[in-house]
């Protein structure tokens, strides 16, 4: 009897835990932290975390298949640099498209490596991290590139009824992704591949194509996040996006995602993203050094993964 309760508690705890935690933290902020509810603060969170939000959605797709994407941070920088360079000659739209195509292409390469060779995902994307960083530095000559194009910058500045447009875009993409995972076959097969690759294979699902798809999509999402980042900053920097993949992984895992694959949700991930946004904001407003953010993220990842590992061992008792 107790065991069942424990199982349910851990199970529910992980799927909705991010939402509950978010509610708790928002409440704490509203009650105890001065300036928390101020509009300026709220919008700042939304701007910054729509960037991470896109990355986290991409990371979710990859983690669902049992993989991981460590290259996201460098692709943010790469996107900004490529876009900034093209923009000078061709304008905002071609710049954005160029950056998206490049990163999507590199993501596809990662996917091919993971799908077709025995190289583990973390190595493949780690290698890609170096490649992305190197390309970014090379293209920008190791210097930041200022961006003058106002149309482009509006991506990071425009607001609708006081809410940042990029955040609204993110919400839209969340809804689309939610629909995709629930209603499209490829969406379901992503879960199947992560849950049991062997069973998925026996059922006739094309494992390679599924994996290549998610890595490509992850890089596309990352690129979009990179565009917002550059637009907001008003410049492109080859050293931008440092450790952003940590945040996206943390958001997915805290939102109930399992690094073993097959488990994770858009809702949980989105809540995870906002959770980190709010926590960061509270830390800043409370005068706690922003340097602690990394440690908190790291500890949260460890806790979340440990809990999900415990859950997994419980579940496999049935076998």
């Amino acid at each position: 009897m107790e065991k069942v309760f424990f199982d349910k508690a851990f199970g529910v705890l992980n799927k909705y835990s991010a939402i509950i935690a978010l509610a708790i933290v928002v409440l704490y902020g509203a009650l105890f932290v001065p300036n928390f509810l101020r509009e300026a603060n709220m919008t700042a969170i939304l701007y910054q975390y729509s960037i991470i939000g896109f990355l986290a959605l991409g990371q979710l797709l990859v983690i669902l298949t049992g993989g991981i994407d460590l290259s996201q941070g460098s692709f943010v920088a790469l996107t900004s640099v490529v876009a900034a360079t093209i923009m000078v000659h061709a304008g905002a739209i071609p710049a954005a498209l160029g950056a998206l195509i490049l990163c999507g292409g590199l993501g596809l390469v990662s996917g091919i490596i993971v799908a077709k060779t025995k190289i583990p995902a973390f190595v493949a994307t780690l290698g890609m991290l170096g490649i992305g960083r190197g390309l970014a530095k090379f293209i920008a000559n190791a210097k930041p590139i200022p961006i003058q194009n106002d149309l482009f910058k509006s991506l990071g500045r425009a607001e609708l009824f006081g809410i940042p447009v990029c955040f609204l875009l993110w919400i839209l993409v969340c809804i689309l992704l939610f629909w995709f995972l629930k209603k499209r076959r490829l969406g379901r097969y992503i879960y199947a591949v992560g849950s049991s690759e062997e069973s998925a294979r026996l059922a006739g699902i094309n494992i390679a194509r599924t994996k290549m798809f998610v890595y490509m999509m992850a890089s596309l999402f990352t690129a979009f996040g990179g565009l917002i980042w550059a637009a907001r900053l008003g410049s492109a920097s080859p050293i931008g996006g440092m450790n952003y993949e940590m945040e996206s992984i943390a958001a997915v895992v805290v939102g109930g995602g399992s690094l073993n694959g097959g488990v994770g949700s858009v809702l949980g991930t989105a809540a995870g993203v906002l959770l980190f946004g709010v926590i960061n904001s509270i830390l800043n407003l409370s005068g706690i050094s922003p340097f602690w953010q990394g440690a908190i993220k790291g500890i949260i990842i460890l806790l979340a993964v440990a809990i999900s590992q415990l859950q997994r061992r419980r579940n496999s008792k049935y076998k």
Partner: protein, 500 residues
């Protein structure tokens, strides 16, 4: 019940692995609407045969006719899509998807906009379960179900694919009596629909209740195919064993020594129930039984890999608690595991190194490894065991199964164990290596080592053991002295005939 034309016709199927023949000239017909039971002891070739039928393996020679067409190259996906489905014990469904989603996986009904129609998916699942007479929550996550129900979902999925041939591999091993009856009701319905069922089980009562015909395999060959009514329990058992080979029994020592191991009422929840046995110096106690009887689980308790819930282990006269294989080895208990690749060897390292692991700490000076003494000892063993090819520095993964097993044995010899646990010591080992391994075991016996040997090979049990204990359902059902045991008696005990 049976029509004139068989739906599946296998002719002279042969299959071997690494030169070892597993199936030889097996010919079987399966008719629509019949329950065709496949019987034979462990290693007779049943699983290989059904893997060939379901497309996982390709036969080396022979032909298969399915629906009157000859097929040369199968694949599991082709088999699925064309009506041949196998329900294995290891469920090949997706653990994190729901029951309904699993049933329709890769076969999802879609809306006009090419979206998944979840409503129809649930309906399909509900309908199939209604037909089956089963009530399972279609929205439950698959892995939350108990294994018996997971198997029912696997069956439901097979049915949704319009199976013509359904293969059930030991379906009832985790079923309660009610669930077995449920399954039989379902099978009868399927028969009426003309579906052919190949049924593998060692529960003889089930065979006689639900079966139409029986095919018996022995050592990869077809022994007999006939109507269920043509067999009775005794004749069935006799056809599964009973070889012409005259079993050469090992020399028994004039007297075995004192008790080395004594298990008293050893229990592990759900796995081992109240096992008591004794092994003496210079004695080989063989453990027989079918797969799933709990033999490996018993070994794991003795070696300290799993915790004991109740009961006692007495080693060399005193009660001990063995919490880890490390402690067991220190005490002088060694294990040659069943899963050679997974637990017996470190594939990337050399033969010599693999054989030395057990001795490294014993011979170390302080913490430094004494290479020369290890090397000398290792090379001696290497030569003594006649490991081929004669390069001790070769990575062990390139050796044949038999030679790898010799190396594993060498690792334990290196540890000077007083109690040796052997789990299927000659599985996947060629005849030559087998003989050599037997010689080593004899030498150990003469030296006074107590040996506990789990084996599914009845000949091996009879020729090597001094005493034989047979396990079924987690407990010991019968003990024999070597002179009174026969293949039939062992198998009968393993099948748990003659009352429970």
């Amino acid at each position: 019940m049976t029509e004139k034309e068989p739906i599946l016709k296998l002719e002279k199927i042969c299959k071997g692995f690494s030169g070892v023949p597993v199936l030889q000239d097996v010919s079987i017909d399966v008719y629509p609407g019949e329950v065709h039971c496949l019987m034979g002891e462990n290693g007779a070739g049943k699983s290989t045969l059904i893997k060939i039928i379901s497309g996982s393996y390709t036969a080396d020679s022979g032909s298969i006719l399915y629906l009157n067409t000859v097929y040369k190259k199968y694949s599991p996906r082709w088999a699925h899509e064309n009506g041949i489905n196998t329900i294995y014990q290891e469920i090949d469904l997706v653990p994190h998807l729901t029951v309904a989603q699993n049933i329709s996986l890769r076969n999802e009904p879609m809306t006009r906009t090419k979206n998944i129609d979840d409503k129809k998916i649930k309906e399909r699942a509900l309908n199939i379960f209604k037909d089956m007479g089963v009530s399972i929550d279609v929205n439950a996550e698959l892995q939350s179900l108990k294994v018996a129900n997971q198997q029912l979902v696997a069956i439901a999925k097979a049915l949704s694919l319009n199976s013509r041939v359904l293969i059930l591999d030991e379906p009832t091993s985790v079923f309660t009596n009610t669930e077995v009856e449920l399954l039989f009701g379902l099978i009868r319905k399927l028969k009426a629909q003309g579906i052919a069922i190949i049924y593998i089980s060692h529960h003889l009562e089930e065979i006689f209740e639900i079966g139409d015909r029986i095919t018996v395999l022995k050592d990869g060959c077809l022994v007999r195919t006939g109507l269920v009514s043509e067999f009775d329990k005794a004749s069935l058992v006799k056809s599964m064993v009973g070889r012409d080979v005259r079993i050469e029994k090992k020399e028994r020592l004039t007297s075995t020594g004192e008790e080395v191991l004594s298990l008293k009422n050893l229990t592990r929840e759900g796995v081992i129930k109240g096992v008591s046995l004794k092994v003496h110096r210079g004695e080989i106690l063989g453990i027989g039984g079918l797969v799933g009887a709990g033999r490996t689980e018993l070994i794991r308790l003795i070696i300290g890999a799993d915790p004991v819930d109740k009961g006692e282990i007495c080693y060399k006269g005193s009660a001990v608690k063995i919490n880890s294989p490390k402690k067991a080895l220190k005490m002088g208990i060694g294990l040659v595991p069943e899963d050679r690749k997974g637990e017996g060897i470190v594939a990337a390292r050399s033969v010599l190194e693999n054989m030395s692991y057990s001795r490294i700490e014993k011979t170390a000076r302080g913490s430094i490894v004494k290479w020369q003494s290890l090397k000398k000892r290792g090379l001696d063993l290497f030569a003594e065991l006649n490991v081929q090819p004669k390069n001790p520095y070769k990575s062990i993964q390139y050796l044949s199964g038999g030679n790898q097993q010799k190396a594993v044995l060498g690792k334990l010899l290196n540890a000077d164990c007083e109690l040796l646990l052997l789990d299927e010591p000659t599985r996947g080992v060629d005849v030559g290596a087998r003989e050599e391994i037997y010689k080593v075991i004899t030498k150990l016996k003469e030296k006074g080592t107590a040996i506990l040997m789990v084996s599914s090979d009845l000949i091996e049990l009879l020729s090597q053991s001094d005493r034989i204990a047979v396990m079924a359902n987690g407990s010991i059902v019968k003990e024999f002295d070597r002179d009174e045991a026969t293949e039939e008696k062992i198998l009968e005990a393993a099948l748990n005939l003659g009352g429970e």
